[in-house]
Amino acid sequence: MNGQNSRTKALAVFMLVLPLVLFFISLSIGTYGISPRGLFQAALSVVSPASHPEVPAAHRDILLRIRLPRVLLALAVGAALSVSGASLQALFKNPLVNEYILGISSGAAFGAALSLVFLGRAFPPQLAGFLFAAVAVGAVLLISGKAESHFISLLLTGIIVTAFFSALLSLVEFFASPYVLQALFFWLMGSLSLASWKDLYVSLPLIAAGLVVLYLLRWRLNVLSMSDEEARSLGVNVRREKILVIAATTLITAAATAIVGIIGWLGFIVPHLVRMMFGADNRRVVPLSAAMGASLMMIADDIIRGVSSFEIPIGIFTSLVGIPVFLILLKKTRKVWL
């Protein structure tokens, strides 16, 4: 038992350190080959340009303008979607719930697309994304009533609301100019290649704020994962705390979706893997989901950038890997929710 405990602890520490290691590895991967030493010097030259005159300006630009925002974005989005998935699963007492099922992703995508097409890139798409994500999840919860205890009704409502916002999104695409449409289409498939500091300045603080709230609530999520009656009897203001968790998850999902498009399945699979490895206690599940989600996202993006000269959108990549995993887990966990 003790041996196993210390192994689990060591594994947890490894998982928490991994994103940091991957962050630096990811910075050195890309179509333009820069050696780790070259990267290090480029980083130093950013701090003091005078002391490293030999560093080509291109290296600095690649590091600062292309790779750093992209890797940071992968890290933040991976952590955001995974923590959002873990929190929603606990809140709805169902390991199959995720932001996609609840309509949050499609609402956010529609809002962001609407903003991009009609307000242009000068206006941050995160705001409209958040607004419509909140509308979508609110609609799902209202229509399905006490759906948290009736998963099928929640699922069906989620599908309907998602379909509705997808139709609205198609309408936006219909009215978009061909030039905007192309960018919109690429963005919707889920892509990190458009990462820019301008987007990060808005999304990173929003994601960080939501993550901090959910991290602080991590033990409370255990209590909220009990039936509503139990949670109430245990002294929880169920309604208020539920709204808080949903608001935080909607915020981080919208902030992520508004700049990288819909990235499905990550928020569903990562918490599952974490629970399988480290148990159900959300005090561990939340931070480890953040670490694992960030790591997987960086690895996925590294593969995309490293393997081929053309880029597969990461949303497609995660779905191709994620859906088979979802099916396996669905088969395994059927007993729990049917």
Binding site: M1, P95, L217, N222, V223, S227, S233, L234, G235, V236
Partner: protein, 252 residues
């Protein structure tokens, strides 16, 4: 801590509960009995404010339950459900620790003291060795005890237990009632249990509440109130109570 009901009403679409003035005594075990659909569980859930109750209907130690904040209420009264549905496979110690929620800010983690209270509660129900076991590995009897341990960790003066003996074999049933008695005597808890078995109810309770169609039909000391005529009236069938070596059995 005493419970006083001052006119409590609760309505589902096809059922309504209406309880006039009634009070429950401190450190006593009260059994709530009655036929299926009599409203026993609904009454219990109202007493725990798990279901929404109006102001001025229910007082614990003179404090209006509906006017209290969730966490203040949970320190006074705890509803123990019949069964826990295990979506997530928490360990026993993590599960019992949740009983401390009323003492912990939503944004904080349980302290060392909270963990100690949880461990003590687990020891009281005799499951200390189970702390690291997963909930799903337990038998239904053990799971029932874990639910009670969580309620103990909550340290509320009033415990409301919904059918605590369902699915238990006679031995575990007896042990559970021994534990309930111990809670009333040693921890001075005011305990209300809903029960189906009349024999168990009369044997293990100090007081009995008889319910029928959402109303309290009779309430009194178990030994006094338990009579053939009342049983027949409540259950709409012929029933006969037999005394055997100081214990009562119901023939039907």
């Amino acid at each position: 801590m005493s419970i006083r009901v001052a006119g409590l009403e609760f309505a589902y679409p096809k059922f309504s509960l209406r309880v006039e003035g009634i009070a429950f005594e401190t450190a006593k075990v009260t059994a709530i009995v009655g036929p299926n659909g009599a409203g026993k569980t609904t009454f219990l859930k109202c007493l725990g404010a798990v279901l929404p109750i109006p102001k001025g209907a229910l007082f614990i130690d003179g404090r209006d339950l509906a006017a209290l904040k969730s966490r203040e209420r949970a320190r006074l009264v705890c509803y123990v459900p019949q069964e826990h549905d295990t979506t997530f496979n928490y360990t026993v110690s993590d599960f019992v620790l949740m009983g401390r929620a009323a003492y912990i800010s939503p944004f904080a983690l349980p302290s060392h003291e909270d963990a100690e209270s949880a461990a003590e509660a687990l020891e009281f129900v005799g499951l200390s060795g189970f702390a690291d076991r997963a909930i799903s590995e337990l038998s239904s009897g053990e799971r029932r005890l874990v639910l009670i341990a969580r309620a103990l960790a909550q340290q509320s003066a009033v415990l409301l237990m919904d059918e605590p003996t369902t699915f238990l074999d006679p031995k575990h049933e007896t042990e559970l009632f021994r534990l309930i008695r111990k809670l009333a005597v040693e921890k001075k808890k005011t305990i209300l249990v809903t029960l189906h078995s009349l024999e168990m109810a009369v044997q293990h309770s100090d007081l009995m509440v008889f319910m029928k169609r959402g109303e309290v039909v009779a309430y009194g000391k178990s030994a006094e109130v338990f009579e053939d005529s009342l049983l027949e009236r409540v259950y709409d069938m012929q029933m006969k109570i037999i005394d055997w070596e100081g214990r009562k059995f119901v023939l039907r």
